[in-house]
Symmetry: C2
Subunit: 216 residues, 2 copies
């Protein structure tokens, strides 16, 4: 063999998208798709089996999120390399993925060339973050972290709960709820709960799916 192919694992729950990725990558020189996975658990199994050079993964996955997949795999294989590929560009997701050890973050709207170039770059040990993403990341870095409790309160706000209901839910007094709200409004840079709710959804702090109905 003249040169080694880059072994790639594709992790993506949407059939058509996965199919598309595999189709794109299979025609690229020097790239070989060694495995596919449709959820987080399967992704880890496939990784162990094939030891790919680069893992291309979605963030929103059944069973285990993309971030969890990255974290777990890196615990046993720290040199593993990841490219996150997602439709959404919520600041929080980007931050968490890169934090977990992803080397690149791409949106699904990118061209095949970009994708292939990124795989090569990441395999060569480089990182690759598109400018638009880098900017969001920068914004996010400037923002303050929410405390766990503030996060709990924010989640309830997004669910449409009143302060009284939040107090009951979290078993704290309404006064405390207001304290947390006041604090989180400041950190999010907004002035009321409605803005906090939309900001939380937009930034991916509270995933939109989570508010369908569950979690009471």
């Amino acid at each position: 063999m003249t040169q080694e192919s880059i072994k790639v694992l594709v992790v993506e729950d949407h059939h058509v998208v996965r199919q598309g990725l595999v189709a794109l990558l299979n025609v690229a020189d020097g790239i070989e798709v060694v495995g596919e996975a449709a959820d987080g658990v399967e992704a880890i199994a496939q990784f162990r089996k094939h030891q790919p050079d680069v893992t291309l993964t979605d963030l929103r996955l059944p069973r285990l999120s993309g971030v969890e997949v990255i974290q777990r795999i890196r615990m046993e294989t720290p040199q593993a390399r990841f490219i996150v590929l997602t439709t959404y560009d919520g600041d929080e997701d980007i931050y968490r993925a890169l934090q977990a050890g992803a080397r690149a973050y791409l949106l699904k709207g990118m061209t095949s060339d970009e994708l292939i170039a990124t795989i090569r770059a990441v395999h060569a040990g480089k990182s690759h973050i598109p400018p638009a993403i880098a900017q969001k990341l920068a914004e996010r870095m400037g923002a303050e972290e929410l405390t766990p409790r503030e996060f709990d309160v924010l989640e309830q706000i997004v669910r449409g709960k009143s302060n009284k209901e939040i107090a009951a839910e979290l078993e704290i007094s309404e006064a405390t709820v207001k304290t947390h709200i006041n604090s989180l409004l400041g950190k999010l840079g907004v002035t009321d709960r409605t803005q906090a709710a939309t900001a939380a959804i937009q930034r991916g702090i509270v995933p939109l799916e989570s508010l369908r109905k569950p979690g009471q």
Copy 2:
């Protein structure tokens, strides 16, 4: 030729997804992808050029939305058949797409078999709506329509405006704003503006993208 292939036009702005669809469809018997388009304007041009039997389209498209594409094409070619394929399942989108004349509505998470079966069914003149989607549609049908003004107010609420700001923006009194809010809260089946905002986003009444920053 033993039997005619079904001519399909694929309209989808995300490269990898479009690639995946084309790859999936090209291996299916009796289906031929005659064209691809990455935005609404191109979709109409491709339709005119190839006169496909079935058009498979995303709803969120650059330049012209999927709904607009369906409407415009049906103005000149009423018998054209459409399958809407989208990641989101906001009630409003489903409603508008079917209203515009789509015969089927599929989520991107579906299997290739479902997709192919749906294309055949739609080509044969049938409609195909997955049960989960049908249920949402039913819910939506039961809901009351928002008046244009109520919609304006709701949009401002989602943007995080206060009643006073909304009044200024729409050049009406704050009392009127409250009247509209009261009315739309009832129609949406929610009890406060925060719930109205998340409901609007969830149902796709106000697209999440629209609140990035623009529109002042």
